[in-house]
């Protein structure tokens, strides 16, 4: 799965989790909680959505890796590689 595919999935899940957020307008480098006003309920929904879409179970201790779109994409890419290897 390419980084672009992962990015597309992350954005799709975000759209589902927070339909009231303009996901296309997000800056991928900036903290999602700050720019999109996501709270712990949204983050948990994001984690659940990613688990279902990618099969990656993000443990609570790694939630900080999901704070921006860029960070989430590189974290998920390495987790997917781990699972393959």
């Amino acid at each position: 799965m390419s980084q672009d595919d992962i990015r597309g999935t992350v954005l799709d899940v975000l759209r589902r989790v927070a339909p009231d957020v303009d996901v296309a307008g997000l800056d991928p480098a900036i903290d999602l909680r700050e720019q999109a006003d996501l709270d712990s309920v949204d983050i948990l929904n994001l984690v659940v959505g990613l688990h279902q879409a990618l099969g990656v179970d993000v443990p609570e201790t790694d939630y900080d890796e999901l704070t921006s779109v860029d960070r989430a994409v590189s974290y998920l890419a390495s987790r997917i590689n781990e699972q393959r290897g």
Partner: protein, 451 residues
């Protein structure tokens, strides 16, 4: 003939616009079914019905704006004809049947039909009036007069007061509200909603009464579709109305306690470490459960203030204040918060918060809360001091979990802690019991295995 009325979905709701019906004439419905969607200042709400019945007639067509308490549907006997079904319903949420704030929905009696006590305004003696000297620009008025004036949209400054020192009393407000009796309540409301001037409208009803039929053609077409900005404004208006009422009528007192969160956080981390994302427990679920269990033992914080005084609730349905992105607030209820396992409660919170933000809550969620919790979460402030949501009588506020210096057994350390506050209604409870209630919450958070 039974009727299904526009429910009051909160103290701040005056009317709602029917968006769609999921039922039609001849359909049979069961208690708890969602029968349609109504658009309110707080978003689109799915309306549940609280009896088994057959739909006979749809009175309010989609698109119609209907005041609280007016007829939406006419109902017939349920299939199979269980005649007693409607009566045998002890559990029916009273707030659906009886608007929480009936006084503001029913136009006040006007004119000679309502006999007033003769002689000098006897009522003024019973209405406490602030003894403070009037400040320039400030109108002296009794609380009852102030409340009714607000409901009627009357500017107190324009009312001539007949009470002591010229203070405005209830009678003065009722008299001031009286001069235009030839407009039906519905027509008046439509006009108010859209800012229409009725002074030049000719009524076609009996005796020239201005009715809905006279007013509705004047409503601009665009107003039938509410734009997002309009939504923001109506929600702000609804919050303003509820909070102003709260501050006007509820004598708040405030308490704070700091709770040690080390054990709760450790317990939660261990528990969630073993769970897949789908069943993980949100920290706020612990907070809600601790409040709900404690509320069982303190009935004076869990219930509703009604016209007949305080009515403690028999169950604990905690309302959770949910902030909407871009502004606005809604506090839907989680039924039987005290009786649900933490993982189930957490899933219910997740679902409800998402629906609150998408504008798809159910009518029971809007009316059932017996106590509200406001938790501003991990990016919030350290202390939340809340405003009670009427007709409830208490609000518990949680700040962000932060490290604080902690002295215990003569030793000073640093602990992860949370501030718990209580905004209580002094008509119902006092600081002593309120303090014990907070201490019970803190105890439960320090012993998460009891949750």
């Amino acid at each position: 003939m039974r009727e299904y009325l526009m429910p009051s979905l909160g103290a701040d709701m005056k009317d709602g616009r029917v968006v769609e019906w999921f039922v039609g004439p001849g359909d049979s419905v069961r208690r708890g079914d969602v029968v349609g969607v109504v658009d309110t200042a707080k978003g689109a709400i799915e309306m549940e019905i609280w009896e088994d019945a057959t739909i006979e007639e749809i009175v309010a067509a989609p698109g119609t704006k209907v005041p609280v308490g007016e007829v939406l549907l006419r109902l017939g006997e349920p299939e199979g004809g269980a005649v007693e079904a409607a009566e045998a319903e002890p559990e029916s949420p009273e707030s659906l049947e009886t608007p929480v704030e009936p006084a503001s929905e029913v136009p006040p009696p006007r004119g000679p039909a309502e006999p007033q006590p003769p002689g000098p305004p006897a009522s003024s003696a019973e209405e406490p009036i602030s003894p403070a000297a009037p400040m320039p620009g400030l109108v002296r008025a009794s609380p009852a007069a102030r409340k009714r004036a607000h409901e009627l949209g009357i500017d107190l400054a324009e009312v001539r007061g007949s009470g002591p020192d010229g203070a405005v009393v209830l009678e003065d407000v009722l008299a001031a509200g009286g001069p235009t009796p030839h407009i039906t309540p519905l027509a008046r409301r439509i006009a108010e909603t859209h800012g229409l001037d009725l002074s030049s409208v000719k009524g076609t009803g009996p005796h020239g009464t201005i009715t809905r039929d006279d007013v509705e053609p004047l409503v601009p077409e665009a107003a039938h579709r509410q734009e997002p900005e309009g939504r923001q404004r109506t929600m702000r208006d609804a919050i303003a109305a509820a909070m102003a009422r709260s501050k006007r009528e509820i004598p708040h007192y405030y308490l704070e306690s700091i709770a040690d969160m080390r054990r709760a956080e450790a317990w939660l981390a261990a528990e969630n470490g073993t769970r897949p994302p789908e069943t993980r427990i949100l920290p706020v679920a612990l907070l809600l459960k601790a409040v709900a269990l404690s509320a069982r033992d303190y009935p004076e914080v869990n219930g509703h203030w009604t016209e007949d005084g305080y009515r403690p609730a028999s169950a604990v349905h905690v309302g959770l204040a949910v902030a909407l992105r871009g502004g606005g607030l809604i506090a839907p209820a989680l039924r039987d918060t005290d009786a649900r396992p933490l993982d189930e409660l957490s899933a219910a919170i997740t679902d409800m918060v998402q629906r609150a933000r998408a504008g798809r809550l159910r009518s029971s969620e809007m009316t059932d809360a017996t106590l509200t919790v406001s938790s501003l979460g991990e990016r919030g402030v350290e202390t939340v001091i809340g405003v009670i949501y009427p007709p409830q009588v208490a609000l518990v506020g949680f700040g962000r979990v932060v490290e604080r210096p902690w002295a215990e057994d003569g030793l000073l350390g640093v602990r992860r802690t949370v501030s718990i506050t209580l905004a209580g209604d002094h008509r119902v409870s006092d600081g002593h019991r309120g303090g014990l209630f907070l201490r019970r919450i803190a105890h439960l958070l320090a012993h998460p295995e009891e949750l």
